[in-house]
């Protein structure tokens, strides 16, 4: 399916169906992130179950800690 991630359109492979799938796909499972789906922050306990739909707008904020 096609979703928009951080303002950029991305074609996801078929096996990516959830927020967890996105984290795995982009190799950011270890990163500190807050993820929003269609303007709603996704609860971290729902990453595995939260399904994606075609056209979703996903925002991923990386909690970078340098200074």
């Amino acid at each position: 399916m096609k979703v928009t991630i951080n303002g950029q359109e991305v074609q996801l492979p078929e096996q990516v169906q959830t927020i967890s799938g996105i984290r795995k796909h982009f190799n950011i499972e270890q990163a500190l992130t807050i993820i929003e789906q269609n303007k709603k922050i996704v609860d971290k306990n729902k990453y595995d179950s939260q399904a994606l739909s075609d056209g979703d707008r996903i925002e991923i904020v990386h909690f970078v800690g340098g200074g």
Binding site: Q8, I34, D43, K44, F63, G65
Partner: protein, 348 residues
């Protein structure tokens, strides 16, 4: 005063009244690295009345790529960053009162030096200090402005105690991550972007124009052109141990442990912190090291020596940086051997 602030006084958001407030107010900056130096320079140019800046490190050549204020000479002299920053800030604008603190943030130090701040800017490079700052800022009800950057990514959020979610609220929402050290490096433009976002929020708070505050978590990746402004108000957690109804200031309690060691991210360096009130007799320490025929340089602020090929920097407050190792146990053993040669006392 002539008209050195003329351009910002003409700006409607500040005006004469706003400038008067800026000239009287007190900002704290935690960290005098890349973010801290940019924030401090802009604030001193803007006429901030009182600036307190704390840093635990010294100037190195690798800092000069992105940390403004500092020069090759500061690195050559191994000056503590807080000392070097004060020197340059006073050259830029002698009207501001700059209080430079060489040390590690602690509860006692905060209550002595930062509890009268109107705003505090986070310019640290680690979440351990940020979570301590978060507890302290909430305890003293001082707004503080989170800032972080890495690579070409930057992030900032303004935390108003009892109004917005706090840093713990945000961090508790994120899936567990072992605080792994990222060695990605960083480019100066993203540092400047974060510092700029922090300073403009400081201005709004200083002139008391709270309606102008941004209110969102702001994220930017300057290389991939990603920009996000996220509303995180829903993450405010009434059960948060740092800012909730039954707050226990957990990170403040944790910070009172006797000796704490940490490996500095990407530096192959161990940082050792003794208990809060320790004071080291520096000239006696120097004598003892020289008696053992160890090379020893004293620049009036810190001592550096070299033991078995490891550079060791000792600060007056008993902290040490031990280079070329990330073995905390070994570094602690070396530290104890060295510190026992000296004389220490506890300040009140």
């Amino acid at each position: 005063m002539n008209n050195r602030y003329d351009r910002q006084v003409r700006f409607d958001g500040i005006g004469e009244q706003g400038q008067k407030k800026i000239l009287m107010k007190h900002v704290g900056i935690i960290g005098a690295g890349a973010l801290g130096t940019h924030v401090a320079e802009t604030l001193i140019r803007a006429g901030i009345g009182y600036l307190s800046i704390i840093d635990r490190d010294y100037v190195e050549y690798s800092n000069l790529q992105r940390q403004c204020l500092y020069t090759e000479r500061d690195a050559g002299e191994v000056l503590p960053k807080a000392v070097a920053a004060k020197k340059h800030l006073e050259q830029i604008n002698h009207n501001g009162h700059v209080n430079a603190i060489v040390g590690e943030l602690s509860g006692k130090l905060f209550s002595d030096k930062f509890s009268t701040c109107d705003v505090i800017v986070d310019a640290t490079d680690n979440f351990e200090t940020r979570l301590l700052l978060n507890d302290l800022a909430i305890k003293y009800k001082i707004p503080w402005i989170f800032g972080g950057c890495l690579g070409s990514k930057g992030l900032t959020y303004t935390i108003i105690p009892d109004e917005t979610p706090c840093l713990s609220c945000l961090m508790n929402h994120m899936p567990f991550s072992n605080d792994s050290c990222d060695l990605s490096g960083v480019i100066a433009p993203i540092v400047e972007w974060v510092a700029t976002q922090q300073v403009v929020e400081v201005f709004k708070l200083l002139v008391e124009d709270h309606t102008a505050l941004r209110g969102t978590l702001l994220y930017e990746d300057m290389w991939t052109n990603e920009h996000i402004s996220m509303n995180v108000q829903t993450l405010k957690n009434p059960l948060c141990l740092s800012c909730g109804r039954h707050r226990t200031h957990p990170y403040l309690s944790e910070s009172k442990k006797r000796y704490r060691t940490s490996v500095l991210c990407g530096r192959d360096t161990v940082h050792i912190r003794p208990e809060e009130n320790m004071k080291l007799d520096m000239s006696y320490m120097k004598q003892m090291l020289m008696k053992d025929e160890l090379p020893c340089v004293d620049n009036g602020f810190l001592l550096h020596t070299c033991i078995d090929g490891h550079r060791l920097i000792l600060f007056q407050d008993g902290r040490a940086l031990i280079h070329n190792t990330s073995d905390m146990k070994w570094a602690m053993k070396l530290y104890m051997e060295v510190i026992r040669k000296g004389r220490t006392c506890l300040t009140e």
